[in-house]
Amino acid sequence: MFLGAIVVILFLVLPVLSIAKNGDFNEYVVKAGFLYSFTKFIDWPEEKSKLKSNGKFYLCLFGENPFGNVLKNLAKKRKFKGADLVINENPPSDDLKKCHILFIPKPYGSFLRSLLKVIDKAPVLIVTEEDGLIREGSGINFVIKGRKSKIRFQINRKAVEQGGLWISSELLKLGIPN
């Protein structure tokens, strides 16, 4: 239902989106939906299963939260990998390895390199939204494409899989070239 709503809204607000600037509320509604959808095509290793993580799915945010209440609302409606979504903003560096997804919004991309060192190939999906970060070691990087300013994403398969994650080819084929 929710995704449907997103899609419907997407179609309805496309003209609006096209003129919207980064950080627009609607952009993060879509991105939040995409984050949820990613979990459908990506599997985390055993150590991060619902059982091992006390039925929690950790979505960590670095820096400022661009989603507003969108993620909180999403957590109420959806289960992520069958577990409850827990939004962890700016966790202590010791807890970074516990994250299932680490979202690095702009303009915090410059912290990617040091964050990667802390994570140290732990099974964490790093999602960014700045050009060029996909080559810096980000797993998935959101981009805005085309005249309609459609939200697409790039995938660094090597970066995703080195932490022991499995990514579906269905998802891979949707990724635009790096």
Binding site: V7, K40, F41, S168, K173, L174
Partner: protein, 495 residues
């Protein structure tokens, strides 16, 4: 149907065999085609369903991320499947998400299709499937495929069936031509034989076949029938030949019977007449006798010539009386009652009453010792008649011998009774003159007499009397040597 009836048996059998083959092939082909079409459609639906599943699965992520371009790209791979004329993806709300199309078409499935999942029409097949991701319906797919392949396959099949049928019928034709002879040959042979029999009317012809089936039975029956006709014809011919002979015999018999009938009538008439005449004659004769007696008494004893004349008259009166007796005897009705008579005794009494010439030697051998139930007076007449004949024959022989001055003439009469099982036989064996051969055949004919006197009723009366006693009379005779008369009577006559 009349045409079929009039066909020759070979054509008929061939037609039946070919017809059966044709119908069998037609029916089996028909059902195979129906079954095949159904299977083809089912397979097509299954294949399309699988394809729809695969295409749908391929587009799950695109649907999930609202990536219509990728979806359209994915759908465009369907051009590898030329029978797919139209394909479309819908999001979870039923809004058209992406489509692929080779034809102009309304891009939405009918409500009925959404309900049942697939529709098979004559020209096309439609498939509608939901797309599920992680147990959640994220959209649906719609495929529209034409059925040209089915039609092509059906056409190929029909050509194949026609070819198979043609070859099968060809084989059946040659096969039937050979096989039908098993039935047609014997029937044709029977027909030709029947024709031959009919045209030649020769019932000696036979058909030959060694088989234990109905045809074998038919052949046997046919042969039996011919044998019977042949036998019947032969019998008929024999009857025809015999009939002529039979008619001749019957005619002869009829003539004899008629003759006898006429004679009997004559006799009856004669009997009546003679009875009347005899009766009327007896009284005047009695008067004449009395007169002669008176005359002889009153004539002086020394008038020898007068006495001689009177004696002559008297003798002739006796003879006349005899004739009258004979005639009356013939016409006299039966004595009313039979009585038991000791035959030997009865014969003795009769013999004692007779005047017998001393020159005759009479032997009597009466040893039967039985009594029989007879009309006593009538039987007596029969015996007297036979006896008189014998004595007459002896007398004539004596007279003949005297004339030739022979000294040793045998004049014997042997009378004997013999009991022969249930029959009493009385024999009169004389050594008299016998009966000439030419007269012998007439001895039982009434009114035939060779005697100088008598009316010729002696033996016919004997025969009549013996018949009345259910017995009979037989005469054997040889001229100049003598005669044997045999009377026989059953001991227990039937009433």
């Amino acid at each position: 149907m009349q045409i079929l009836k009039d066909l020759r048996i070979r054509a008929k059998l061939t037609m039946i065999l070919l017809g059966t083959t044709f119908l069998t092939l037609l029916f089996s082909s028909f059902f195979f085609i129906i079954k095949d079409t159904k299977t083809f459609k089912t397979n097509l639906v299954n294949n399309l369903s699988t394809l729809a599943g695969a295409v749908g699965a391929n587009n799950r992520s695109a649907l999930e991320f609202g990536d219509a371009i990728t979806a359209k790209n994915t759908l465009s791979y369907l051009k590898e499947e030329p029978q797919i004329l139209f394909a479309a993806l819908y999001d979870k709300n039923g809004v058209l998400f992406a489509s692929y199309s080779q034809i102009e078409k309304e891009p939405f499935p009918s409500p009925e299709l959404i309900k049942v999942g697939h529709i098979i029409a004559d020209q096309y097949v439609e498939i509608f499937r939901p797309i599920i991701l992680k147990g959640e319906k994220i959209g649906s797919i719609y495929l529209y495929s034409h059925l040209k392949n089915l039609q092509i396959q059906r056409d190929k099949y029909l050509v194949f069936v026609a070819l198979v049928m043609f070859v099968a019928l060809l084989f059946s034709f040659f096969f039937s031509i050979r096989v039908q002879r098993v039935i047609s040959d014997p029937i044709l042979s029977l027909t030709s034989t029947a024709k031959l029999v009919a045209t030649k009317s020769d019932y000696a012809i036979r058909v030959h076949r060694d088989s234990k089936d109905e045809l074998g039975t038919l052949f046997e029956s046919f042969n039996d029938m011919l044998s019977q006709i042949q036998k019947g014809n032969l019998e008929l011919r024999q009857y025809r030949d015999n009939l002529e002979q039979l008619i001749e015999e019957r005619t002869e018999k009829l003539k004899t019977t008629q003759k006898e009938l006429v004679q009997k009538e004559r006799l009856a008439l004669l009997g009546e007449l003679s009875a009347k005449v005899a009766h009327e004659l007896r009284n005047p004769l009695g008067t004449i006798r009395n007169v002669i007696f008176s005359l002889s008494c009153s004539t002086p004893k020394n008038d020898e010539s007068a006495h001689n004349l009177l004696e002559m008259v008297e003798r002739n009166i006796v003879r006349c009386n005899g004739i009258i007796e004979e005639l009356l005897d013939f016409a006299r009705p039966h004595s009313p009652k039979k009585e038991w008579v000791q035959m030997d005794k009865h014969l003795n009494e009769i013999l004692n009453e007779q005047k017998l010439d001393n020159d005759f030697s009479i032997q009597k051998n009466f040893n039967s010792g039985v009594s029989v139930l007879i009309y006593k007076e009538r039987f007596r007449r029969a015996i007297i008649n036979i006896l008189e004949n014998s004595l007459q024959a002896l007398s004539e022989k004596k007279a003949k011998g005297n004339k030739k001055k022979e000294t040793t003439i045998e004049l014997n009469l042997n009378i004997k009774t013999i009991l022969n099982s249930n029959t009493l036989e009385i024999f009169f064996i004389d050594t008299g003159l016998g009966i000439p051969e030419e007269e012998f055949k007439n001895i039982f004919t009434p009114l035939y007499s060779t005697k100088s006197f008598g009316v010729g009723l002696g033996l016919p009366i004997v025969k009549e009397i013996m018949n009345q006693h259910q017995g009979g009379v037989e005469i054997l005779s040889k001229e100049n040597e003598g005669s044997t008369a045999k009377l026989w009577i059953p001991l227990f006559a039937k009433d």
